[in-house]
């Protein structure tokens, strides 16, 4: 076989990779750019000097810091709740035998097909009767558990050999003890996948906070940015600073845990 010193695939991949990465690079550069560089003609890609005016403006002219804190709270509660509730339910459906197990699991599988748009109106009515509209709880309650999470954890527990649990039971462990001390430590890969799935969904959600929250001090960062854009549509350094603040945590998480992100995408793609 003839071996080229340079694979022709680079001719496809290099421009594509740049096309995907450059807008994000420009986002970061613009956030640090003086307005003069952005509004001149033709526009500059590389700033003449770097400055923090975009970030200072963002944090003084909007409640972005508050929005970010709200989002951290919503995402943290969502991730913690899903880790506990979905792994427990997944274990129950995979290993325990009880009345209504099959019916319960089938019901959960059926909900996977229901689109969220269908649920928005009745959920809004339900939440407003419960007094949840315009509270942070409105943003995180829909994320406390998910059919995807239960399904993911159940599939994982089914793949574990049962002998370990039986051994622990002989040693006198209760069902919860077996789950907590023996099974859960083995479930780290699945728990990582579930964390990524919940983090992505709850951090990036826009339509539901848009519907359920109108008090500006309770906005999530996504909602805050989307509304901020409507009023400050020419202050690009401010908007790009907001984008950096809203995106950077997930990009850092992605770079640190690329394998878990890929596993999440693959699981929802091949088995979901």
């Amino acid at each position: 076989m003839r071996r080229l010193p340079f694979s022709p695939w680079h001719l496809l991949l290099m421009p594509l990779a740049l096309l995907f990465a450059l807008p994000l690079v420009q986002m970061v550069l613009t956030a640090f750019m003086p307005d003069g560089d952005i509004n001149r003609f033709p526009p500059r890609f590389i700033p003449t000097r770097l400055q923090l005016d975009g970030f200072i403006g963002l944090f003084t002219q909007s409640q972005a810091l508050r929005w970010l804190a709200n989002t951290v709270v919503v995402a943290a509660i969502a991730v913690l709740a899903q880790l506990v509730l979905c792994s427990m339910a997944g274990y129950g459906f995979a290993r325990l035998k009880f009345f209504g197990r099959t019916a319960g699991f089938l019901m959960i599988l059926a909900t996977i097909m229901i689109p969220t748009q269908l649920l928005m109106i009745p959920t809004y009515v339900m939440f407003s009767r419960l007094g949840l509209i315009d509270t942070l709880a409105a943003a995180f309650v829909p994320w406390l558990a998910s059919a995807f999470g239960i399904f993911l954890m159940r599939q994982f527990f089914l793949s574990l050999p049962a002998e370990l649990e039986d051994a622990a039971r002989i040693d006198g462990c209760s069902t919860f003890g077996v789950f907590w001390r023996v099974v859960l430590p083995l479930a780290r890969p699945a728990l990582a996948t579930l964390t990524v799935f919940t983090l992505l969904g709850s951090w990036n959600d826009l339509i539901w906070p848009l519907v359920a929250i109108s008090d500006e001090s309770l906005y999530t960062i996504q909602l805050g940015l989307a509304n901020f854009q409507g009023t400050r549509h020419t202050q690009w350094s401010l908007l790009m600073a907001g984008n950096v603040v809203a995106t950077l945590p997930l990009i850092i998480a992605f770079v640190l845990a690329q394998r878990q992100f890929v596993a999440t995408m693959t699981f929802s793609g091949l088995k979901g």
Binding site: S7, W9, H10, L12, M14, L16, A17, F20, A21, P23, L24, M27, I38, P43, L85, M88, A89, G92, F93, L96, K97, F98, G104, M107, T111, I114, Q117, L119, M120, I121, P122, Y124, V125, M126, V141, P142, A145, A147, I150, E163, A167, I170, T175, W203, L206, I207, V211, Q229, W236, M240, T247, L250, I251, A253, F254, Q258, M265, T266, G269, L270
Partner: protein, 313 residues
């Protein structure tokens, strides 16, 4: 199995106090639901219950405050004569037809390229995946900047190439295709990952055997790789179709349905009807219409793939 039985026998004395099988069954069910109950209650309470309620609302005229008025199937009849809804359906379908094949084709192409043992693969992969983690809000705002007719990078590139300047998101005709490009930028990472995983599952010896039999690279791709990717393609097509039919976030953060309603999608229409005009009944009917259409399309795609003998489900 022997371990399992041994376990049962060992554990038996502890349960000796339990008098009958029925009581033991009750105890087990309580433990089982103790594990599965909270998550199940949340999922059912936040999806099956509201889904049924949404159907009841769709048979009413209701603004959420005044008493609901039962009107039977009238909301569904109104849908057929609503020109704005028909326009929204048309925009959504145009977007779907542009987006789904492009995301499948690009995803497959990039995955095949990334599956080669070449340098910089890690760098390319990271670049192509990262937009997937950016939110629709951030993506939309970034895109409004890149495609801004005055200071945007897109027009700068066109100017450098000596091509005419475009209005992009501010043009009635270009806005929807541009939103499609933006959606591809954010979503191709997903199809690439799924295809990469599927490619890595193809046994190497099958490919080698085909090469030994004298097949060239294209023939290997056409007769070995492509059929092996069939099930994943069915899945990604369905997944991306559902995503496309539910387009909302990107429209909200780029054009808000404009210019002149040219990018109004079905979900955007549901949002304005229900939460701007407080037509809860009509909004629910449109949402149910979309759900039914999505189910029909999904089932149709599954049947088609079965006919084509692709084992996907």
């Amino acid at each position: 199995m022997s371990v399992l039985f041994a376990g049962r026998r060992q554990a038996a004395p502890a349960h000796a106090a339990v008098p009958s099988g029925r009581l033991r069954w009750l105890r087990r069910s309580l433990v089982g639901w103790g594990f599965a109950g909270p998550a199940t209650a949340l999922v059912v309470g936040l999806s099956i219950f509201p889904a049924v309620w949404a159907f009841l609302i769709s048979l009413q005229k209701w603004n959420g405050i005044a008493p609901a008025k039962p009107i039977g199937w009238l909301n569904y009849q109104l849908m057929a004569e609503d020109p704005d809804l028909l326009a929204a359906v048309r925009h959504t379908l145009v977007f779907t037809v542009l987006f789904v094949p492009a995301s499948i084709f690009l995803g497959m192409l990039v995955a095949v390229a990334l599956n080669r043992p070449i340098k910089l693969v890690g760098f390319y992969r990271t670049c192509i995946f990262i937009p997937f983690v950016a939110s629709a809000a951030a993506t939309g705002i970034l895109a409004s900047f890149v495609f801004n007719p005055q200071y945007g990078a897109a027009n700068s590139v066109l100017r450098t190439l000596g091509l005419p300047q475009q209005q992009f998101l501010e043009s009635q005709w270009q806005a929807l295709p541009v939103i499609c490009l933006i959606a591809l930028w954010g979503q191709v990472g997903f199809t690439v990952v799924v295809y990469l995983a599927a490619l890595q599952d193809i046994p190497k010896d099958v490919v080698e055997a085909a090469r030994m039999d004298g097949a060239n690279r294209w023939q290997v791709f056409r007769h070995v790789t492509l059929p092996a990717l069939g099930p994943v393609t069915v899945f990604t097509s369905i997944w991306q179709t559902i995503t496309a039919l539910q387009l909302f976030d990107l429209v909200f953060t780029t054009t808000r349905g404009g210019p002149l309603g040219a990018t109004q999608t079905i979900v955007y229409y549901v949002y304005t009807q229900a939460f701007k005009l407080t037509k809860f009944g009509y909004g629910s009917a449109v949402a149910y219409g979309l759900f039914a259409a999505t189910m029909l399309i999904t089932v149709g795609m599954i049947i088609y793939s079965r006919r084509s003998r692709i084992e996907a489900f």
